[in-house]
Amino acid sequence: MKACVIVFPASNCDRDMQVALERSISKPVDMVWHRESDLTGYDLVVVPGGFSYGDYLRCGAMAARSPIMAAIKKHADRGGLLLGVCNGFQVLTEAEILPGVLMRNANLKFICKDVELTVERNDTAFTSGYATGQKITTPVADHDGNYFTDDETLKRIEGNGQVAFRYAENPNGSINSIAGVYNERGNVLGLMPHPERLVDSELGGTDGTPMFDALLNYSGKVGA
């Protein structure tokens, strides 16, 4: 398993993600600058949290137009694993790799706290370490985590089983309490909560660990 973390100007959970991945993979995880254009050789690409381009205009909008995005799309198209967390999720929706958009939290405030998530299915590369229906604790830390789609898309993603996680208690107004979604093929996951922040009991929990362990031990077909 070869993994990398993409770094945009003002990404700020890049190191946290690298640390969490390396903890599971036990080998170095590369940091890839947004001006690069090639991601061949990576099995897992992670777009981390942060405030790429200051979250100006729309969260993730400017990063979604960075040079690296073409390579990220290519990686996803060939079936590579792609994970977007928080700002990374926003980038992937802006790039239309994932459906929907992330709008301002309904209370218009930045929200940083632990929330409970329900794992919707455990037959994907990302969630095989959890049980379907399992409740896990993960922190959210965002200003724009309010997931929204039009009715048609919502019907489609619900019907396809593309919802990955739901909030037990909706903190931000997300439609159907959606906290994370897959693409149709299931090789791309975006979620607002930060699993990389809970991989260390010293920091208050390890509910994020199974995701990274599962990803990095994933032996299914990745890439082509």
Partner: protein, 747 residues
Amino acid sequence: MSETPNKITAEIVAEHGLSEEEYQLVLEIMGREPNITELGIFSVMWSEHCSYKSSKKWLKTLPTEAPWVICGPGENAGIIDIGDGQAAIFKMESHNHPSYIEPYQGAATGVGGIMRDVFTMGARPIANLNALRFGRPDHPKTRHLVHGVVEGIGGYGNCMGVPTVGGECEFDKSYDGNILVNAMTVGLASTDKIFYSAAAGIGYPVVYVGSKTGRDGIHGATMASTEFTEATEDKRPTVQVGDPFTEKLLLEACLELMATDAIVAIQDMGAAGLTSSSFEMASNGGVGIDMNLDAVPQREENMTAYEMMLSESQERMLMVLHPGKEDMAREIFEKWELDFAIIGKLTEPDESGTGHMVLFHKGEKIADLPIDPLAAASPEYDRPWVPTPARETLKPSEVKAPDNLMAALKTMLGGANGSSRRWIWEQYDHMVMADTVQRPGGDAAVVRVHGTKKALAMSSDVTPRYVFADPVMGGRQAVAESWRNLTATGARPLAITDNMNFGNPQRPEIMGQFVGACEGIADACIALDFPVVSGNVSLYNETNGTGILPTPTIGGVGLLDDVSKTVGVGFGGEGQAIVIIGETAGHLGQSQYLMEIIGRDGLSADDGAPPNVDLALERKNGDFVRAEIISGAASACHDISSGGLLVALAEMAMASNMGATIEDLSGASTPIHAWAFGEDQARYIVTTSDPEEMLERAEKSGVYATLAGTVEGQELTIGTAHSISVAELKDVHENWMPDFMSHPEAH
């Protein structure tokens, strides 16, 4: 000298905030009449903010040394050694006035400024704290100010990816027209990679990096300057807008460059921007600078020299580089998409030994100022002061008991000043960087030193009503409380930064508060081996002749060698014993009980003296508690401060969702309300599964310790007569602030 369009009149001098005597000194130093640019430079360099003219004399009395202090006050931030070749760099700074004018941007740029102070020195910021003081909750502006300030702090800190892990927030009518926003940053550096501001190397390039310069924040001097710009459009706001995105890039670019050996000296552009940064670098290094203002990256057209020198545009830095490193440095800044410009070079001092600041603009030499005389002659006042009259100690019997003890507790925990600050810290990313071991809500935050098992504990404290009643005792108490809060996590307190917020120093009673607080802080720092390594002074915090409560905020930093040993404030576990360390006499003077339940305002002498702070006792009790935590004997710890014993117990109960049964230990001389709510110092509550042994060790150490009860059930019960459910307490405690803030607010 050309470009002196206007004669310097008495009005212009006054508009620049210089007194007649000060202007005479200007004439002496210059040997001629200054032009407007030069006058502007004098005015900002000699402003209270930059020169500390009222406070210098007293700040010098603060203890600043300890074996672990690498750099005390004088640089951008203080530095302490935390072992293994690592240093903690920290400072606190106020942005009070700007935050009142424009709360979001004022607070945001305050956070940006303090972070720059820390990363200028080579440290990566790892935590932010903020100490906030607002007016009374029902003042029409309060809600709007709280909203804006909290959002601004979050907006900047969250984007930077630096966790905001702690602080304070209080409401009092003395801040109605003058809120306090004190921001603190703690950074981490290698001891062999610390950067200072002293310029060196004649001929070496002076480099400007970061954002472009605009006409932001050209303060009171704006009026004078408008005469010289063609711009006659709407009066320019003096508010600066922060750009945390650019600051994040600046941080990364600076740290990347600092990893090389290109930098000789570096200084952020804070207050008085280009002026103070360039003068500081030159005067610390004993050199001069030739500066070409045409090369300064400019955001607006037709900027004058005056405007460029006085602009307070944010997110900018000045550096001196080793010759030959310019291209490499430029590449780094361009990679991060930031401006980079060589704007000058260092020059030799003149025959008299002083360097000169020589400014060129549009091909002409437009200013020439001798640096040392300007810095050395900066005024220092010994302002008249009177000591604050001593108050009598209030006896418990003089203070009415509540009708119902638990109802009083509920009122205190559910009031403006006793309620939870969750509404605030949930708007701050307090976990980013994934090293926050103790989140906000306890005594001190604990943040791991990345990649090690060490951790830093940090806290910000002061009890202004104590300082008002007795500045010396209040000063001591602020330091002692900070020390206690660090101790309560198991950390060894190492050093403090202070932020002295006071009223008008030209009034002797205010100056007396300042002098007294300095004395108290100094006493405590010496007794607790807890020196001052950095700080900031904010004076003239008053409206219509009424000063704020004197508020010397203390930001303390401590070290845990092994973070796994830390404990929190939540009870350690069902069935454990509750032990009170320190003696409870029931001091109610200036207490929260007196304010919230009896309804006093603390301003009159019959509200009593604040609690006595016995520094030797603080040390003895604190050292004992810390040892109990580190040995693993204590499973939880909370210091007892505002609100006293019962409030502290309730906070421990709420933090763990566990109840407790406590023996009623009140007595004839300490009636139950004094026992429950008295604010005697040097006290802690701990839980343990082996109380006998702990009490034995306490006795051996000469520490007063009492077995007070047991963690059990879902209620907090005192003796046989008083009981309340923890859920009920939590409900009022958690809801005050969200309820208060949910009302619609206008500006």
